[in-house]
């Protein structure tokens, strides 16, 4: 057993050395990395709102007490909406007169030069805020669902064990999940972007193909594989170690791209506390484990 570990360690060392001293593989890695970054940069340029606007809005929000934030967002939204219509004499402005009054409208008319938050960025931030405050409601919803299921099964007298069990399980999972939503989720958009990007997968696939070609196909072509076959551990053990090395290198690549992208996104959208619970990212809300984002 000890010999086995010693052997695996040594063989793996040389396999990784082969990969990480191979210039073509390193170049491919760097090129893909740059490509991913350029692409993600390009994507954020494509948005209708800029990253600085997003950051600015979050800074404003953080100054407000939590309960006032939604109202602020709503008002900002109306402000920019109304601002668009200021010069349109035909427009129906009765909504604004009713809700905010004439003084409010005049103030906006005067502030010709002030930058209003665009509607898209407001929507995005609203979504994040909704998620933050809505999480409790979401949990309660689950509980209700459980109670409902329970009732139904009682009335039917014919319990479907799976539905029941699953509801209990879900309930338990959410009950025992003791997480605190961070008070501010400044910039979770960056992470959201990061986690939902498909170009990362494409980059990984390209990398894997290239790595396989360089590391396995080329060795075969250069008769290195058959040369190794003549050694004591050159067959089964060798192939196993090669698979492990491939897996390891790919993991490393994923880590590298994710990490550098995280830095890039964070610089754009603000840093997120990576130890915050993962549910603070809107589309990860349903996760039942107390993972942190990291």
């Amino acid at each position: 057993m000890f010999i086995f570990i010693y052997l695996v360690k040594n063989m793996l060392y040389f396999e990784l050395k082969k990969i990480f001293t191979n210039r073509r593989i390193l170049i491919c890695m760097v090129v893909l990395l740059i490509g991913v970054h350029l692409f993600s940069g390009y994507q954020s340029l494509q948005q209708e709102w800029t990253a600085s606007e997003y950051k600015q809005l979050h800074e404003r929000l953080d100054q407000l007490p939590t309960q006032d934030r939604m109202a602020f967002l709503k008002e900002s939204f109306d402000k920019s909406e109304y601002h668009l219509r200021v010069n349109d004499t035909q427009a129906d402005v009765s909504y604004y007169t009713d809700t905010y009054g004439l003084a409010w409208m005049e103030a906006i008319q005067k502030q010709k030069n002030e930058v209003f938050f665009s509607r898209q960025v407001l929507k995005q931030v609203e979504k994040e805020e909704q998620n933050r405050i809505g999480y409790d409601r979401f949990r309660k919803g689950i509980k209700k669902q459980y109670a409902l299921n329970h009732k139904v099964s009682i009335f039917q007298k014919k319990e479907d064990p799976f539905v029941g069990q699953r509801a209990v399980k879900t309930m338990d999972a959410y009950e025992t999940l003791n997480i605190t939503m961070p008070a501010s989720i400044k910039g979770s958009y960056g992470i959201e972007q990061l986690l939902s990007q498909s170009y990362l997968d494409i980059a990984l696939l390209l990398f894997l193909v290239f790595l396989f070609y360089e590391y396995v196909v080329r060795e075969e072509e250069h008769q290195q594989l058959s040369y190794m076959q003549l050694t004591k551990h050159g067959r089964l053990a060798y192939y196993m170690i090669k698979i492990v090395a491939l897996w390891f290198t790919c993991s490393f690549f994923i880590f590298l791209t994710s990490f550098t992208l995280w830095i890039q996104e964070s610089l754009l959208y603000g840093f997120v506390d990576l130890s915050a619970c993962i549910q603070s990212i809107p589309f990860c809300m349903r996760i039942t484990k107390a993972y942190s984002i990291l």
Binding site: L7, N10, M11, F14, K17, K18, T21, N22, R23, H222, Q223, Q224, S226, Y227, M228, Q229, L230, T231, K232, H233, G234, Y238
Partner: protein
């Protein structure tokens, strides 16, 4: 120590690269001679179990090799015709890697690396990347890898093809030194490299083993038939059409041609034949009698 090849044949598609080859190796140095494409590498690959033979059997110590493959491979050091090292490794890395793959203990491995690199004069280049090696250095490095685990059987495919004269002598001496308790099979077409170190010669022609024997036995084929003939350039032009000529040179402004005179028709000084003459005799197209 005994390696026996019986009725061995190899077919690539329609073409037979090797046909009905029979021989037995015990210890000593064996030279495998033959022109390009005669099947030397094919035969060696079969001996190393890298290539599946089409017909025949291979016996190691009277046992079919496929039944004792691991034990056989443990004893085998193979040097392929083209270097197949990892270009981004240093020689030290590469040899350590080979040692690990062969399951050699670390201290023994380091000792062996030192020994073998010293023997081929590569100690100074141990920490240089193989990418930066010259052709001759790569060949010596491959030889190191083959010798590393001190195998009983050495199969070397053109080990001296790219070496300079001094390194050739070095490798010849090295092979002589280690040959005492080993079986060494060397494929080459540089006849002079093996002429005096090989105990036995195996000569392949188009996949067929046409001659087999010691140097003296082969040279006997041409006993009294190699002559050095004094001639002029004009005469030489005409009789080079009729005879196989193994070399020409000027001596005191006199042109001297070394001729294989098989029918004993020429006037000249009879000299002792060498393996080069035999090679010419066997492969010089027009004059080949076999």
């Amino acid at each position: 120590m005994k390696l026996e090849v019986r009725n061995c044949g190899k077919q690539y598609g329609e073409q037979w690269a090797l046909q009905d080859v029979n021989f037995t190796l015990t210890h000593g140095i064996y030279a495998l001679l033959g022109p390009n494409g005669s099947g030397k590498s094919t035969l060696m690959n079969i001996l190393c179990t890298l290539l599946e033979k089409t017909t025949g059997t291979l016996l190691w110590e009277d046992k079919e090799i496929s039944t004792c493959e691991n034990a056989y491979l443990q004893q085998l050091g193979y040097m392929p015709q083209t270097p197949c090292m990892y270009e981004d490794f240093t020689l030290f890395n590469f040899l350590s890697y080979m040692g690990v793959m062969r399951g050699m203990p670390k201290s023994f491995l380091h000792q062996r690396i030192e020994e073998v690199t010293k023997k081929v004069e590569l100690t100074d280049a141990l920490d240089k990347k193989i990418r930066a090696y010259s052709g001759g250095m790569k060949q010596r490095a491959m030889l190191c890898a083959a010798l590393l685990h001190d195998p009983k059987i050495l199969i070397l495919d053109e080990p001296t093809a790219e070496l300079d004269p001094l390194k050739r002598i070095l490798v010849q001496k090295l092979l002589m030194e280690v040959s005492k308790d080993k079986m060494i099979l060397i494929a080459t077409h540089v006849v002079s490299d093996v002429e005096f170190i090989a105990d036995q010669f195996l000569i392949l022609k188009k996949g067929v083993l046409i001659e087999q024997g010691s140097r003296l036995a082969l040279v006997k084929l041409l006993d009294g038939k190699v002559k050095e003939v004094k001639t002029t350039m004009e005469e030489y032009q005409s009789f080079k059409q009729q005879y196989a000529i193994s070399s020409i040179r000027y001596e005191h402004e006199q042109l001297i041609a070394r001729v294989l005179d098989l029918d004993d028709t020429l006037e000249g000084e009879v000299v002792t034949a060498n393996i080069n003459d035999v090679y010419l005799h066997l492969f010089g197209e027009k004059y080949a009698v076999l």
